[in-house]
Symmetry: C2
Subunit: 191 residues, 2 copies
């Protein structure tokens, strides 16, 4: 659970009592590969901090195909913020891509944590700012890059990550067909 404290310590300083209190708010979970932590129709009530492994957020589209919208790896947070805030049923699935270790905090405990330790507002504000900045860029790329450009860009930013997920997941995340993905990979490998 030290991973979370180290991550928080980059934004705010904590004494031992505060650290203990924070950890007491989280439930460590070992999540086997392919385990689903949230599924369409449920009310999302939990935020996950990824200590180890990889999770993804996806939807099942009209054609019945999985469409990955987001990946989360070590030190990232993942949840459906809309369902969490509105308490309306989620449209999303959250699933472990690899065997993962996560820290889960439910919404009631989250509110409690912030009420009792308001300095944590800063940590979460900074995290959300980063996430939101990334999603502004993501939307830009979805509008402007071709599938191939998206792949090269993603591969450049996250070269190791590309090896951790299936071609199918990455193809849906980057919004192109698995066939095109195979072509690109074959092309790059030849260089």
């Amino acid at each position: 659970m030290e991973a979370l404290l180290e991550h928080i310590a980059k934004s705010i300083s904590l004494d031992a009592t505060e650290s203990d209190f924070i950890l007491s708010c989280f439930k460590p979970i070992q999540v086997k590969k392919k385990t689903i932590l949230l599924e369409e129709g449920q009310i999302c009530n939990t935020q996950y901090f990824i200590v180890k492994g990889c999770l993804r957020l996806y939807i099942i589209n009209d054609k019945g195909a999985e469409q990955t919208l987001q990946f989360g790896i070590e030190n990232w947070w993942i949840t459906d913020h809309m369902s969490l805030q509105t308490q309306n049923p989620t449209h999303f699935y959250i699933q472990a891509v690899e065997h993962s270790e996560v820290l889960a905090i439910d919404q009631k405990t989250f509110d409690d944590l912030l009420r009792k330790l308001p300095k944590m507002e800063r940590y979460f504000r900074l995290m959300l700012q980063k996430s939101y900045a990334a999603s502004q860029m993501r939307i830009k790329y979805l509008y402007t890059q071709s599938a191939e450009e998206r792949y090269r860009h993603f591969n450049h930013l996250q070269p190791e990550f590309v090896q951790r997920v299936t071609q199918y997941m990455l193809a849906s995340y980057l919004d192109f067909s698995a066939e095109f993905m195979s072509k690109i990979r074959a092309g790059l490998e030849r260089k």
Copy 2:
């Protein structure tokens, strides 16, 4: 400037001294229609709270066409978070769609405000949570909805707003051609 205080009061309570201090951090600006507040290549250094009017965030794509990625109306915040955080040049433009009244806060003053009045962390955390939730949904719609579905959805959620922007801006925001937009409008008007 009361609009901002009212907006903040929905999340946290403020006394008169705190309210005065907050207002002292913002610079009210009257922005004429089409004025550009941020342009590609600049370092984004300012967050804007919209008191009245409408702003948009857009890019100029490879073909030289404007592509609107985001609109902001009354009580919304707008900025390029990535450039603001990294202090790298922005890819975006921010422009007034209508004559607008905005409150501007530069990054140094923003940091100062949060240092001196840490309870404001909560307000900004909540705002970012909403913005991020909206962008998660936005990305979902970009992947799953057809142009026509996006238009109907947007028109349903923001019927008055649709009247405030040009067809050209809305068409680029919803990622379809102005021709298709005209067709849809004509179709709806006939019903």
